[in-house]
């Protein structure tokens, strides 16, 4: 048999179901948000590591211009510091999608699909290995070409051979950038099929796994040894890349997402704490009289404190019972969705016990700690004060200048207007300022977080726009080799719809460090620099863009300076171009992602030092009309014309495609932000509803008084609804202001993680207005429901309400 005080706790918990439900929901939404974020973060991190380890990832890749055979591969495998090596043939082909559009297609040819030793590819669906004259498509690429397993597609190789080929199945190759992000699908065939396309046997790509794969510097040295060996064997190396140990190609973006999730988790936690403090203090206000009675019958502060702490613990347990399973399910769904987007496998969606422990600790201990302050201040008042029958009129309204203004006595213009009930609502809002402050902090935090999420989303779009603005052209073509620049310009301008042209050259380079070690492959783009140049400039982070007449100036990505500490703005950089070392001066840095380093140099200077004066291997065109349809039409005509005059296009992209691809790389972040926005709207919204509802419940007696003096039910409800709207609007205004620094912080963190510089700041007005609508609707709903319930009681019942 329980002691009487525990019956009170139980009856308080289950006797007022509406209040319990509101408090438990407020707490559980915060805990749910925290659980989903922490669990998904761990599931993704572990899944990523396991998934990547399972494919035996390479330390680096060396590509050759000439083909090599198994004998050379075996000689690489026998190198002292090479743990394992494998070879593939990589071909840049084109595929016609179901819409009739030609897209780039990277085809890999593997000698033995059942003996891939490095960067393993596995079967996802359909047959395995790819049968002769059939092809497998990487699983993430099927949507890019709009095809299904079993479809037949037309593929064109660089040798102009076109074949209709069956997609016999899908493969899983997490070592590649997900196709939907870089816009390039991957196909897998055998050497028999390659022969069918009229291509000779041979490999052009070496995947090397160093002996100490986790040591990036060591891996770099080993890959450089392999590259030297290949060069000594007479192979030209156009490209070599070093992989970050244990990291997928999109690791930077994924880390950005995980960081963002962590930051939003912390914000959700703060929000939850304020919700708990708010609801507990509201509960105590409601229970003030009963606390007084318990003191009067001999209850000590500790005994009463113990009762209410147990009650808060019970709320926490109930909230955890809801939040833990929902958080686990949500984390699984979110992790699975992100894993699909980043194209890796999650082998286990087991929620880590630590996450549940954190949730339990936060769900139980934090509410108790958070509620100690309102408890102690509530228990400090004397029993007589607690039980005072004058509690209705005991608010401290009228003391300061805010109250003076709101009293309406100075508002002469209101005297002839029927604003009495509105003023009553506004005055009620300010009557209990401590409570109002707590409510406003909670709601402002919710508002600011929601608007900030929209701001980050808008900033991502602005950043993409900034990146696209670099190119003042509509289409970019990469050619299979260098052509005379003058010929390229002339042929392109002869195509209807093409208005302006410009050329550049692309060169594979490597950074040579002071200790003679070399970096992985860096692309050097050398555009023409003149007033009418089609390339304007990337968004410059520091320093300046290339100038006409610059000789050895380069502009590098901002993230590059972080990765290579010995480089600095204004300092020198040694780049190896075509096997020779050249010293350049870093004149500027641009905002760019770290996973695709590109340095810019002057076209005239680069063609001069590489003996390619007057040549170009890339072309940009500007069309007369810039809408996607006109650009696509002009581009198709240009491609056909180039083909007819013997100029081979190996890669083609329009700015619209670039924009789509750039946005796609942020799609996961944007989608995640939207999920978070909805989640935070739920937390904030429920917090708002809970706070408002308890606010009204607490004043049930006052409703009785208003009705006793003749107020109609509707009139009473309106007083509370207006009060709710006033509080909602105040939190919206403050949240909109607080969102400015909050979103700047998020932009800084996310931008640094993904690109090495903050995102281009943008404030989302739609997000701000959307939250206004949400706040007003929730305020009305939250005030209306309890006010209506209270107005349905008889005056006697209401006045007796506790």
């Amino acid at each position: 048999m329980l002691r009487a005080r525990w019956y009170k706790v139980i009856n308080d918990l289950f006797g007022n179901k509406t209040r319990t439900l509101l408090i438990v929901l407020s707490m559980s939404v915060g805990l749910f948000a925290l659980g989903i974020i922490l669990s998904a973060r761990t599931i993704l991190s572990e899944g990523l590591a396991e998934s990547f380890a399972a494919i035996n990832p390479s330390s680096g890749t060396v590509r050759t211009t000439e083909l090599f055979d198994e004998e050379f591969l075996e000689s690489v495998r026998s190198m002292k510091d090479v743990q394992e090596a494998d070879a593939r043939r990589q071909i840049s082909a084109r595929v016609r999608t179901e819409l009739g559009e030609w897209k780039n297609l990277t085809v890999f040819v593997v000698a033995d699909y059942d003996d891939i030793r490095v960067n393993k590819v596995s079967s996802q669906s359909g047959v395995w290995p790819p049968p002769e004259r059939e092809m497998l498509i990487e699983r993430a690429a099927l949507s890019v070409i709009g095809a299904q397993v079993g479809d037949v597609v037309l593929v064109r190789f660089p040798n102009d051979t076109e074949r209709k080929i069956l997609i016999a199945g899908s493969a899983y190759d997490p070592a590649q950038l997900p196709a939907q992000i870089d816009g390039t699908p991957y196909g897998y065939i055998t050497f028999d099929t390659l022969e069918w396309f009229g291509e000779p046997y041979g490999f052009n790509e070496l995947h090397v796994l160093a002996t100490h794969a986790q040591d990036k510097d060591w891996a770099q040295q080993v890959v450089n040894h392999v590259k030297d060996k290949a060069e000594k064997s007479g192979y030209t190396i156009p490209l070599s890349m070093i992989a970050e140990p244990g990291q997928l190609p999109m690791n930077d973006v994924l880390q950005g997402i995980l960081l963002l999730m962590g930051l939003l988790g912390v914000l959700s936690l703060f929000l939850s704490i304020f919700l708990v403090v708010n609801t507990v203090s509201a509960l105590l206000t409601q229970q003030k009289r009963q606390i007084g009675v318990m003191k009067a019958v001999g209850g000590s502060t500790f005994q009463i404190l113990g009762m209410y702490l147990v009650m808060v613990l019970a709320y926490g347990v109930l909230a955890l019972l809801i939040a833990i399973p929902l958080g686990m399910a949500g984390a699984r769904e979110l992790s699975s969705a992100l894993a699909v987007f980043f194209n890796f496998e999650i082998y286990s969606t087991e929620v880590p016990p630590l996450t549940i422990k954190i949730q339990v600790v936060i769900g139980l201990i934090l509410p108790v700690l958070a509620s100690l302050i309102p408890f102690i201040s509530s228990l400090r008042i004397s029993a007589a004060e607690a039980m005072s029958i004058y509690s209705i009129s005991k608010g401290r309204f009228g003391k300061n200048w805010i109250d003076q203004i709101l009293s309406g006595s100075n508002l002469w213009f209101t005297r002839d207007l029927s604003l009495r009930s509105l003023l009553l609502s506004v005055r009620n809002t300010f009557r209990n300022k401590g409570r109002l402050t707590l409510t406003l902090i909670t709601l402002t935090l919710g508002s600011a977080t929601f608007i900030s999420v929209f701001n980050v989303r808008a900033s991502l779009s602005s950043t993409v726009e900034d990146m696209i603005k670099w190119f003042n052209c509509d289409t970019m073509l990469t050619l299979d080799r260098a052509y005379r620049a003058e010929r390229l310009n002339r042929e392109a301008l002869s195509v209807p719809g093409v208005e302006k042209t410009d050329v550049w050259i692309q060169l594979p380079t490597r950074l040579v460090r002071s200790d003679d070690s070399e970096s992985g492959m860096i692309y050097m783009f050398a555009p023409t620099v003149k007033p009418d140049s089609l390339i304007v400039s990337p968004t410059i982070a520091e320093g300046r863009w290339l100038a006409e007449g610059d000789d050895n100036a380069v502009v590098v990505p901002s993230a590059f300076l972080q990765d290579e500490p010995e480089l600095e703005l204004g300092g020198n950089i040694v780049l190896k171009v075509n096997g020779k070392e050249y010293t350049f001066k870093i004149v500027g840095t641009y905002i760019g992602m770290a996973f695709l380093p590109v340095v810019y140099a002057n076209y005239d200077y680069m063609t001069r030092i590489t003996n390619r004066i007057g040549e170009a291997d890339a072309l940009m065109i500007s069309t007369r009309d810039h809408d996607p349809v006109s650009v696509d039409a002009a581009t198709s005509m240009l491609e056909a014309h180039f083909e007819s005059v013997g100029i081979r296009v190996s890669m083609l992209t329009t700015i619209n495609m670039e924009r789509r691809d750039a946005e796609a790389s942020f799609d996961a972040i944007v989608a995640l932000l939207l999920v978070m926005a909805i989640l935070l709207a739920l937390v904030g919204g429920l917090g708002l509803m809970g706070t408002m509802s308890i606010n009204v419940l607490e004043r049930t007696r006052e409703i009785g008084v208003l009705r006793a003096i003749g107020a109609s039910n509707r009139g009473v409800a309106m007083v509370f609804i207006r009060e709710g709207i006033v509080i909602g609007l105040m939190s919206w205004v403050m949240g909109a202001i607080l969102a400015i620094p909050t979103s700047q912080g998020l932009n800084q963190a996310l931008g640094q993680a993904v690109m090495g510089v903050p995102l281009t700041y943008s404030y989302s007005l739609p997000g701000m207005w959307l939250w206004l609508v949400v706040v007003v609707l929730l305020s009305i709903l939250a005030s209306f429901i309890p006010a209506r319930t209270a107005s349905r009681l008889t005056v006697r019942e209401v006045l007796a309400y506790e």
């Binding site: 002691r3 001999g298 009228g398």
Partner: protein, 241 residues
């Protein structure tokens, strides 16, 4: 004016020059102005006065529900004026029962549990003893049949009987009642007064404040409060004969 009588035994409650000032937006209000009072064991002291005269403040000060501004309050030889809320609650729980005009019952506890609660706080009896004792007290005030009901299901008179049973839970020597009949009709009020008289006959000390002069006549001693001062005191001859 001091209110003291010649009695060889020491007083159970003694107020010495008690002053209580309330500070509010409207200014300072002196609720009790230098009140001195002695209450002896077995007395039924009724304090009367108009609304605002300081009656409830007097009850709150004696029971330790509120703190005084100056002066001294001694209860059963203990200096209540020096006690913090914790000690005051312990002293109150052990030696005093309090009955309020508006009953102040806990709405989420049953009738029986309301009576058990003070015993639980005082940790005097085992849970079974608390239950048994609570039933006995409810029988004494004739509401044992309603033990499992919520207080809201009882009539006003029954709620006040319940409040008296709760006040008697820890078998206190002193019962303090603030307008216990103020919310009751005359017949029910008379019945409640009968219960108080019965308790006095058992040897308990009762201090009651009321504005009703007819009710006041049923005490062994009366005092009148006017503007926070004791203006008049009478002792019933029969009780001190």
């Amino acid at each position: 004016m001091n209110l003291s009588i010649d009695n060889p035994s020491p007083p159970l409650i003694e107020l010495r020059s008690v002053v209580k000032v309330y500070n509010s937006l409207a200014g300072s209000v002196m609720a009790l102005n230098c009140v001195s009072l002695q209450i002896f064991q077995g007395e039924f002291l009724v304090v009367t006065g108009k609304s605002g005269s300081g009656k409830t403040t007097l009850v709150n000060i004696i029971t330790g529900l509120d703190r005084l501004t100056s002066g001294e309050v001694w209860v059963s030889g203990s200096p209540m004026h020096r006690f913090g809320t914790e000690k005051a609650a312990r002293l109150r729980g052990g030696t005093m029962g309090v009955v309020f005009q508006s009953f102040e019952l806990l709405p989420t506890l049953t009738v029986l549990q309301n009576v058990m609660l003070p015993m639980d706080f005082a940790r005097r009896y085992s849970v079974w003893e608390q239950r048994k004792r609570a039933f006995n007290l409810l029988e004494q005030v004739d509401i044992a049949d309603h033990a499992k009901k919520q207080p809201s299901a009882l009539s006003g008179g029954q709620q006040q009987r319940l409040a008296i049973a709760r006040a008697m839970a820890n078998d206190p020597a002193i019962l303090v009642a603030d307008e216990p009949t103020g919310s009751l009709d005359s017949a029910t009020a008379a019945a409640v007064m009968g219960i108080f008289e019965g308790l006095v006959q058992e040897g308990r000390t009762v201090l009651m404040v009321t504005h009703d002069k007819d009710i006041a006549k049923r005490g062994s001693r009366t005092a009148t409060l006017v503007d926070g001062e004791i203006a008049d005191a009478q002792i019933k001859e029969s009780l001190h004969a």
